[in-house]
């Protein structure tokens, strides 16, 4: 059986056998990048520098709220925002230590630890990356994947940082007479609607303020998470989060994608509704 020549496979095995290879400079890194992301980041000149994390564990007490008023729970909003800021700051310090210029694929999560106490761990985790030889001031953070970052940079933009805003809101319970009066009709619960509107607007405005502060032109891949965490159904946190970007090239670069039609059955890639769990993500 003849061996088909394969320069890449042979070069790879030669490198393993100990002869040469175009190796990275500096310390060994860890990364939670997928292979696709690692390969695409290499195409735009980024090298991974290491997995970076920051965490903050908060004890979330309860705030007294009026049973029948719509209002923001300012103490909880402050705690939820501050805890994320602390986790992010710790992660950025870690990224600077390993020589990163940016962090991609950020996962900013809240994990509830049980055991009788309302303990929440806020974790920020991502992979620090750097362009060898490039100058940078500070570390940018983005929750975009390696694929998205590749497209963004090819389109002529640069990520500036994460923008997010939080709002914890108490939605009023209905009074008894109101409830009785509506039993036989289909009506809009306008206090509910307006409460959700207001909370969402507050979170989004705060996010936009953050983006403006760093002079971003826009926010991409923004989403609004809506969760009740541990507070029951009438207290909801809205978290608006996205990556702020600015045009680095003179103008938007066209990618000229090739149009393809697959003859296979393409699995539905649209976002599946997550309404079943009671927590929803809006795109």
């Amino acid at each position: 059986m003849t061996v088909v020549p394969h320069p890449r496979a042979d070069a790879a095995l030669a490198c393993l056998a100990g002869h040469g290879g175009d190796r990275h400079q500096g310390r060994g890194f860890s990364s939670d990048l997928s292979v696709d992301e690692a390969v695409l980041l290499k195409e735009i000149g980024y090298e991974p520098r290491g997995l970076v994390v920051g965490s903050a564990v908060y004890h979330l007490g309860i705030q007294y709220s009026n049973w029948n008023t719509n209002q923001e729970m300012t103490d909880l909003t402050r705690a939820m925002y501050q805890a994320r800021q602390e986790a992010l700051a710790a992660m950025e310090r870690h990224a600077e230590q390993v020589g990163g210029q940016g962090v991609v694929g950020l996962k900013l999560e809240v994990q509830m630890h049980s055991g009788g106490h309302p303990l929440a761990e806020f974790v920020a985790m991502g992979t620090a990356v750097a362009q060898p030889g490039a100058r940078s001031s500070g570390v940018w953070v983005s929750d975009l994947s390696g694929q998205d970052l590749y497209l963004l940079i090819r389109a002529g933009y640069q990520p500036i940082g994460l923008a997010f805003g939080a709002c914890v809101y108490h939605v009023a319970h209905q009074g008894m007479s109101q409830w009785m009066g509506q039993q036989t009709q289909n009506v809009e619960l306008s206090n509910y609607t307006s409460a959700l509107y207001e909370a969402r607007e507050l979170a989004m405005t705060r996010m936009q303020d953050e983006a403006q502060r760093v002079r971003a032109q826009g926010i991409v891949a923004m989403r609004i998470d809506q969760k009740s965490h541990m507070w029951g159904s009438h207290v909801i946190e809205f978290l608006a989060i996205g990556t702020s970007v600015r045009l680095a090239a003179a103008e938007h670069q066209r990618l000229e994608p090739e149009m393809v039609v697959s003859l296979d059955d393409v699995p539905d890639q649209g976002a599946a509704p997550e309404a079943a769990s009671g927590d929803a993500t809006e795109g």
Partner: protein
């Protein structure tokens, strides 16, 4: 000789072989059969993975595995009885004195010092179990003349509760390149066959499976416990520190393994954070990381840059 006696003798021989540092009999025979090409090759690769591995210039040889069950040594920890600590095994320790200035009150008292301390023996035990399993899968891979193992799955489980015995098993498909140079140690990767092919075309080659573990016990002091009972929103310093230290230890251990195998870095790292109750208010935080260490063999970009497409379904 009866079948039963026969089976018993085989088992004795297998245990003796393991103690000599060799593979059990069944594994030895399987390797022998595969090497001689008497049996069809086995693999758990999907059709797509098979094609991708072929595209990268490799072919499957057979399924290989390595497994080990070890007892994890106990570690005597910090005592809080007199507020004075001492631990065997060294490692990271942080102290959280009583914020009200009391010193040295015992268990059950309102005031005591909190400790976060690293379970060095536990970390070493998990690492040792993993080393044995890895050595066995590598031995099998070498036995069948493979260049490497792809799609390695890891089974890691505590058999009798945390801190007792631990099973570590890895299973994957051995691959080889016909006419390729012999490697002193075959490469290993937990990435599937398609990812292996993409990695190779992207200029990276897998080297080894690397792991990082960080285990911290959090033994809360009175300051922490009072905070937990309060009604206010506040940061719990001791628990934040404990979890962050476990993560940092895990990442540092992983990166030092990357350096040990002379790789450039690790990709596809999976992290798993577990908390085990240890009685009282203490808990053990364990961070387990697993990744594939890679070397960059070529800096030049892909042969063909990726084509942007727009799917019309």
């Amino acid at each position: 000789m009866t079948d039963q006696a026969d089976a018993q003798q085989r088992q004795q021989a297998s245990i003796a072989a393991l103690e000599r540092g060799q593979l059990p009999l069944a594994a030895q025979e399987r390797i022998e059969e595969m090497r001689e090409g008497r049996s069809a090759w086995t693999s758990d690769l999907s059709v797509a993975e098979m094609a991708a591995i072929g595209h990268a210039g490799f072919e499957p040889v057979g399924m290989v595995m390595g497994s080990s069950v070890c007892r994890i040594a106990a570690q005597w920890g910090y005592t809080t009885v007199y507020g004075l600590g001492g631990t065997t095994g060294g490692g990271r320790v942080r102290t959280y004195p009583c914020p009200h200035g009391f010193y040295g009150y015992g268990v059950g008292s309102e005031h005591r010092t909190g400790y976060n301390w690293e379970h060095r023996y536990y970390e070493a035990g998990v690492t040792e179990t993993r080393n044995l399993a890895l050595r066995r899968i590598l031995e099998e891979a070498q036995g069948v003349g493979a260049h490497g193992v792809v799609g390695v799955r890891i089974i890691k489980r505590h058999l009798e509760g945390v801190g007792n015995s631990l099973e570590f098993t890895c299973i994957g498909t051995a691959v080889r390149r016909r006419g390729g140079p012999q490697l002193r140690t075959p490469f290993m990767s937990h990435l599937d066959g398609v990812s292996f092919s993409k990695l190779l075309h992207g200029g990276y080659v897998p080297v080894a499976l690397v792991m990082g573990i960080g285990a911290m016990e959090i033994d809360p002091g009175c300051g922490t416990e009072w905070q937990l009972r309060s009604w206010s929103n506040s940061r719990i310093q001791q628990i934040s520190d404990g979890i962050e230290d476990a993560r940092m230890l895990g990442i540092n251990h992983l990166e030092s393994e990357v350096a040990t195998v002379d790789a450039d870095g690790a990709v596809g790292v999976e992290t798993d954070l577990a908390a085990y109750e240890l009685g009282g208010e203490s808990q053990l935080i364990e961070l387990f990381l697993l990744g594939t260490a890679v070397r960059r063999y070529a800096k030049e970009p892909l042969d063909v840059p990726p084509l942007p497409i727009m799917r019309l379904r």
